[in-house]
């Protein structure tokens, strides 16, 4: 009989990203993905006593109770996580901590973001006081508004300190696109890409080009985290949350302590230390990739290579699912699609599928540990986890 593992992920569900989710709302997307994730875990809505969700357009406040009521849940733990792209990874350790604290035993971590091509996408609650935010007052007047320009300034500074990375960035986009060929849910599945195409794509904000950037989509994804003893009774292999870290240093990139030494280091160091797992044991890196340049910084600051050496690391490794350093085997958000906070969850669902040996045509061989990193805002919210698998 196996030892009881830590709180573990036992079920996942993910909707294929699309440009337009039509008449779907936060609630309808949430309902269908919740049922699907629970079914994957061999559970139903009535088994859920913990719920983690995120700011949604459906209610300016009180999203957890709105959703809990909609799904008929009686909850011992209900919360909303607001860490942008780090939200999904941030949910995992909160679910595990709530289970350890005895607040719940089955925690549903749910992300759902509708989108229409008319341009209305999830923006979270709006408040009249928003006009008084420092960002609105001191950064917006100069156009320091969107993510692309913020990440462009990070990449510009990085290249000033460590040299040009255009080719390495393109190689990341190409490798992830190759991975997406084996994930039919990926938005760009079946549409191969080469380095020259990336390098010739439209310049959006120097030095970032169109194919350095994700495509916004709508979608939904959820995972079910359960107490260790319940995890052993689940129909699929348990994926224990072995260690987690989180770090937040700024909201607007202008006020970050550094553009090139990020809080990813704090977050990843904490996750690896808590898990007691070495970087060298990681068989899959599922790294938040809003931009190709984000992956370079994450490879360095999460400790997979030294500062300034990410471009060389990319050149020295095959980043595809069967390569020497499997990275974002679902295509990453660059090829899978970025459904706002649900895009962050795609890095979690992929790691779970791979650890459970459900990677189908892209299965990483002999996989025991995966590292998942979530990054929110403009490098502002960081969350990391090390996941394992209980082989029965």
């Amino acid at each position: 009989m196996s030892a009881v593992p830590p709180p573990s992920i036992v079920g996942v569900a993910e909707r294929a990203p699309v440009r337009d989710t039509g008449d779907e709302t936060d609630l309808t997307l949430s309902a269908s993905i919740a049922v699907e994730a629970l079914a994957d875990a061999g559970l139903g809505l009535s088994d859920v006593d913990g719920l983690l969700t995120h700011p949604m357009d459906v209610a300016s406040r009180l999203v957890p109770s709105t959703l809990g009521e909609y799904l008929g849940m009686r909850l011992g733990y209900a919360d909303s996580v607001d860490l942008g792209g780090a939200t999904a990874v941030g949910m995992l350790w909160r679910a595990a901590a709530a289970i350890r604290a005895g607040m719940c035993s089955v925690c549903l971590c749910l992300t759902a973001v509708p989108r229409t091509t008319a341009g209305t996408t999830h923006t979270g609650p709006t408040r009249r006081t928003a006009d008084l935010s420092p960002w609105r007052e001191f950064d917006v007047p100069y156009g320091n508004i969107g993510a692309t320009e913020g990440y462009a300034m990070i990449a510009m500074r990085y290249e000033h300190e460590f040299g040009d990375t255009a080719r390495a960035r393109a190689e990341i986009a190409v490798a992830q696109r190759a991975n997406a060929a084996h994930q039919p849910k990926a938005y760009f599945s079946g549409r191969p890409l080469d380095v020259d195409e990336v390098l010739a794509s439209e310049l959006i904000a120097d030095p970032l080009r169109k194919l350095d950037c994700v495509l916004p989509t709508g979608g939904a994804a959820a995972v079910v985290v359960v107490r260790g003893d319940l995890a052993l009774r689940a129909p699929r292999p348990a994926v224990p949350i072995l260690g987690a870290g989180e770090a937040v240093t700024h909201k607007t990139i202008t006020y970050a302590p550094s553009l090139t030494d990020t809080a990813i280091k704090d977050s990843a160091d904490r996750a690896f230390a808590a898990a007691g797992v070495a970087r060298s044991a990681i068989g899959l890196a599922s790294l938040y990739d809003c931009y190709t340049s984000t992956v370079l910084l994450t490879l360095e600051d999460a400790g997979f290579c030294a500062k300034g050496e990410a471009a060389a690391f990319v050149g020295d490794h095959d980043l595809t699912w069967r390569g020497s350093f499997p990275l974002n085997t679902h295509g990453g958000q660059l090829s899978f699609g970025q459904s706002d906070v649900a895009g962050g969850m795609s890095h979690v669902t992929e790691a779970v599928l791979q650890l459970q040996d459900r990677g189908e045509g892209r299965q990483v061989r002999d996989l025991r540990y995966a590292f998942v990193h979530g990054n929110g805002g403009i490098m502002s919210e960081q969350a990391s986890v090390v996941l394992g698998v209980v082989v029965s």
Binding site: P134, E137, G143, H160, A205, T252
Partner: protein, 133 residues
């Protein structure tokens, strides 16, 4: 020239914009730990002191990073495309968001020395920067 998205000053930040209207760049200096503070706050983010005094900045700084926006990031900036979004490191220490005007973006480089200037619209004077001569 078109305007910029208009800031909505609060009691804490009003002295900053009032100084800009006189074409003076000001920051806060902490009476507790001597830190230079930008943007304006009611307490020092380093030591927590509320003894913050308004002081004149030299207006000199260095281009810490920048990008050239090839697409408008706000409708009020649409006529300016392509435009520079810059992070300027003031000689006093704090960084701020601004832009660099008067130089072809292709000729800019991180590390160039900058000098503040002001761009007036109907109601607000915005600090902007030029490459120092």
């Amino acid at each position: 020239m078109t305007g910029r998205p208009t800031p909505h000053p609060s009691p804490v930040t009003r002295p900053f914009w009032a100084a800009c209207a006189r074409h003076e760049l000001t920051i806060q200096r902490c009476g507790g730990c001597s830190s230079a503070v930008f943007y304006p706050r009611p307490v020092c983010p380093v030591c927590g002191s509320s003894r913050l005094d308004w002081v004149a900045a030299t207006g000199r700084g260095t281009l810490y990073s920048y990008t050239v926006a090839r697409r408008a990031t706000h409708r009020r900036l649409a006529d300016r495309v392509p435009y520079v979004i810059a992070i300027v490191e003031l000689d006093e220490g704090p960084r701020l968001t601004s832009t660099v005007i008067g130089t072809d973006p292709a000729d800019l480089a991180i590390g160039v020395r900058l000098q503040v200037d002001f761009e007036d619209d109907e109601t607000v004077s915005f600090p902007v920067f030029r490459v120092a001569s």
